[in-house]
Amino acid sequence: MKKVEIGHGSGGKLTRELIEEVFLKHFNFPELHTLQDATYLPGFQKIAVTTDSYVVRPLFFPGGNIGKLSISGTVNDLTVSGALPHYITVGFIVEEGLPIETLERVVSSMAETALSAGVKIVAGDTKVVEKGKCDGIYINTAGVGRVVRELSPKLVKPGDKIIVTGFVGDHGIAISLAREEFEVETPVESDCAPLNSLLTPLFELPGLRFMRDPTRGGLATVLVELSESSNLGIRVYESEIPVRESVRFICDMLGYDPLYLANEGKAVVVVSEEDTGRALEILKSHPLGRDAAVIGEVVENPGVVLITSVGGERRLELLEEDPLPRIC
């Protein structure tokens, strides 16, 4: 079996082989194939730029892998900022001794995800570090998109509705189950997916105010941060928040709160009351938004209050510590 050697990061012949046999083979984007130090790209008037690093453990988990995650996460960061994602760069830090086949599985999954999201991988870099100095593969990305709608917490008003585009907590639980050897009858898959095809149709709604993908820190963290940055309050109803029965069960068992668990294929959408019906219609017509639901509304008094399923009130605050490190 071929493995990644330190020489693969040398910049010499082995590096060239790795680039051709693994990266270019899968990343079939003409812009990238010039193999220059920088790529020339046509630009836009206003661009959105994002960068993110991925260090998830394990590299492969039900529903995805570090490669799919890196492209999805970058696409989603651009999309929830009101931009159409166009270009992505990828930087790999690879551990010596990693089977080339493993790297290739990750790379091909990235290519597949990029194609399905309609984004191009246009620049890349690889470094190899000694065995034990990293956990298989780390990936850094940058993403560039064309801004269509400028969204901001400052646009949010009392009376606006809060929508979540589907079940929350799946990614966090999938990672947790992939790490531990729990015997669970109904396995939970990560929701990891690029959301641009689901969310960009919302850009046409005049009442669209704000979007965010609830990754680390989960739904609760997004709501608390929105409350803080808009200086308004949020009331959400526990009984309206979509949580899979299996996720709820595992959360009870492990002591997690699904509202704080990471998602990699969900968005929180704030929309005016008038446009709520239309927004739901758009979301539900897409396979990734079938389970979208209005979970609450924006109110005057700052702070986030959860109305529990029995009608009690509980304040949601920022978590001090991530219940699960290295999830994305």
Binding site: S309, L316, E320
Partner: protein, 350 residues
């Protein structure tokens, strides 16, 4: 939801108008449900839901934790215990901060594998908890354990600490919600002493909010009628006699002993220690561990929180100097500790 609404309405109609009623739970999972479902916000002003000694991590004596730390620093020992215990603070830090040789486990049987894989080490299982964790530890011993496995016990008994509480006039408990999981082992009859000897209504409850609300309804009904009875609203799981097999196993290896509760002191017959014939398993005997006098944590009122004499927010360290990330007292460490539950469920400083 309809049913919940009815129960809440019943609670409001049954609650006394002229005096406060203090209902104590003695189980971390009950307190979790109360905090996370916001049940306190649904109670009438006169009904107070008080967390009692429901967290085994919080009451584990400082002496036992320091002994565990010292064992973990021996080159010939691997110390195994539950995740929460690794972070419990003492005057010499925590097991984790001391950086010795320790392993986190999530269930007792995991120590067998660790002992078998490390035949050249002495593996010590720091076994703490109430009846719910003692029974699996006894079951583990019954399976037969490798010669290099020893147990450092800090096992506590729930009915015994509750008896201390009812005798303490400062606590002033009007009724108990008895813990469903512990009851499944010891049986609901174990709580009979409270209504019969002390006139305190006691209702065994499960962990769904609706089941807890039902227990509160039954308690308020008893109080209004001037009755004190033992009731069980968790009948599917809890039997009057409990789990006989588990009890037999527990008392085959262990016997009641006077043990120290952190911040509270020595309580006669409130814990379990190895019977003398099993001393060869007992880490306290094998390693000749001393009993270390407890030192109070400055400013910490965990002892009063555990006994239901104070709420977490009464502590001036709560949420400022003491948080789940940087806990000063044991109640902020454990997921079952009242301070930790309150903090995570969004209760800010008073």
């Amino acid at each position: 939801m309809e049913r919940v609404k009815e129960l809440v309405e019943l609670i409001h109609s049954l609650a006394p108008k002229d005096r406060k009623v203090k209902i104590m739970n003695v189980c971390g999972s009950h307190e979790h449900t109360i905090a996370y479902s916001g049940l306190r916000s649904l109670m009438p002003e006169t009904v107070e839901l008080v967390p009692g000694p429901g967290c085994p991590v919080c009451v584990c004596s400082e002496s036992d934790v320091i002994n565990a730390i010292n064992l973990s620093k021996r080159p010939d020992v691997i110390l195994c215990t539950y995740g929460d215990m690794l972070r419990v603070p003492t005057r010499v830090g925590s097991i984790r901060s001391n950086g010795g040789n320790y392993r986190m486990i999530s269930a007792p049987h995991e120590v067998l594998k660790i002992a078998r894989e490390n035949p050249d080490k002495k593996v010590v299982f720091f076994s703490i908890g109430f009846e719910t964790t003692t029974a699996p530890t006894a079951a583990l011993l019954e399976m037969g354990v490798p010669e290099n496995l020893f147990i450092l016990t800090s096992q506590k008994l729930t009915p015994e600490i509750m008896e201390v509480l009812v005798k303490d006039s400062e606590v002033g408990v009007d009724a108990f919600v008895a813990p469903g999981h512990v009851s499944a082992i010891v049986g609901s009859n174990a709580w009979r002493v409270f209504p019969e000897n002390y006139g305190i209504p006691t209702v065994v409850a499960g962990f769904e909010p609706e089941n807890l609300l039902l227990a509160i309804v039954r308690i308020l009904y008893q109080l209004r009628e001037g009755k004190a009875e033992l009731e069980n609203v968790y009948r599917g799981v809890v039997k009057p006699e409990g789990n006989r097999k588990a009890q037999e196993l527990m008392y085959k290896y262990f016997e009641k002993a006077d043990v120290n509760w952190r911040g509270i002191g020595n309580i006669p017959k409130s814990g379990l220690e190895f019977r003398p014939e099993y001393s060869y398993l007992n880490a306290k005997v094998v390693f000749n561990l001393p009993e270390i006098k407890e030192e109070k944590i400055p400013g910490c009122i965990c002892d009063r929180v555990v006994l239901g004499k104070a709420y977490p927010t009464d502590c001036k360290l709560y949420g400022t100097a003491c948080t789940p990330r940087n806990p000063k007292g044991p109640c902020m460490v454990s997921l079952e500790g009242a301070c930790n539950i309150w903090f995570r469920s969004g209760v800010k400083t008073a």
